[in-house]
């Protein structure tokens, strides 16, 4: 599924950041993934293991934080957690168009070792 493309994009970002910060080996990567994002964590981990083989990120732990779906009612300015995917204000009953969170697909931080053994 598309987790493979996502894993590849994730690896590209990790490689880019580790070059920039001179990391030789990556131990842990923290991700924030929205509940509504069409990403299955197990599948992403599996694909990441495949694409990161023979790279500095091989074997790195993916720590995934799931973000709930929240929305804001523009009628009464109430922010709330969306239950059962119903985009309706629990206070005034109006349909709600503004989603605040739930579709995240972010790399938050990368932990690794500086590659000073190279000299």
């Amino acid at each position: 599924m598309h987790e493979l493309s996502i894993a590849q994009s994730l690896l590209d970002i990790i490689v880019d950041e580790s070059n920039r910060h001179r990391l030789g080996r990556i131990n842990k990567v923290r991700l924030r993934i929205g509940e509504l994002a069409a990403v299955v964590p197990e599948s992403l981990r599996f694909c990441f293991d495949l694409v990161s083989r023979d790279t500095a990120a091989s074997g790195a732990l993916l720590e995934i934080e799931t973000v709930g779906v929240t929305a804001r009612c523009d009628k009464c300015d109430f922010s709330f957690e969306v239950q059962d995917r119903v985009f309706e204000c629990p206070k005034c009953g109006q349909p709600v168009f503004e989603m605040l969170s739930g579709r995240e697909l972010y790399v938050m931080s990368i932990e690794g070792e500086t590659g000073e053994e190279d000299g």
């Binding site: 030789g24 309706e88 168009f97 989603m99 697909l105 790399v107 990368i110």
Partner: protein, 235 residues
Amino acid sequence: MAEIKVPVVRNILQANERLASENRRRFDKAGIFVVNLMSSPGAGKTSLLERTIDALAGRMNIAVIEGDLQSSYDAERIQKKGVQAVQINTDGGCHLDANMIQIALDSLDLAGVDLLIIENVGNLVCPAEFNLGEHEKIMILSVTEGDDKPIKYPLMFQICSVLLVNKIDLLPYTDCDLGKIRQSARQLNPAGKVFEISCRTGEGFAPWLSWIEDKVSEHRKNRAGAAASPHAGKH
């Protein structure tokens, strides 16, 4: 060796997003209205295109990008209608991405095109995550797939501005509850429009076609505005 933690905060799909915005700029410059058409396999994407092209031929210039795992069968079906069609084969890939569109655009002559329809790979999950640079995402759900689909595939229903419920001519032969589809679609996406259609009989096509025509003329205006002063054309 020292262990360090680097704060990053980057969107994993940023590479795709960047290409999607490049595509979008290209479409806007040319004044083309672009839709990303998605559904599960067999819901009627290509049939919708055929009937829509037949109905709008002569009133606007249409081009199509066909996404499929394999074969150029769909592009050939569309070319028979006398419009430009280019096929993208993803070779097993489950969705189109912005880069594939950028490449496909090189095989299309965009001059004078009013409407570009991108038919995504048949899949209710993966295409939802990849912007192509389109103006609107549109999906088809056929009544034979069942009325539980909005709840099972929420992201797709959440992001599409138009839901076309197809094959309504088959309703008497299914247990599908249209009211349930309407209700869950509205809960997921209160701003979304729902059109109930049959690509086989043509039932319900008028509101869908006029939605497309309104959008196309909006984008045409932008093209005219970009090419000339705001008062040009009044003489």
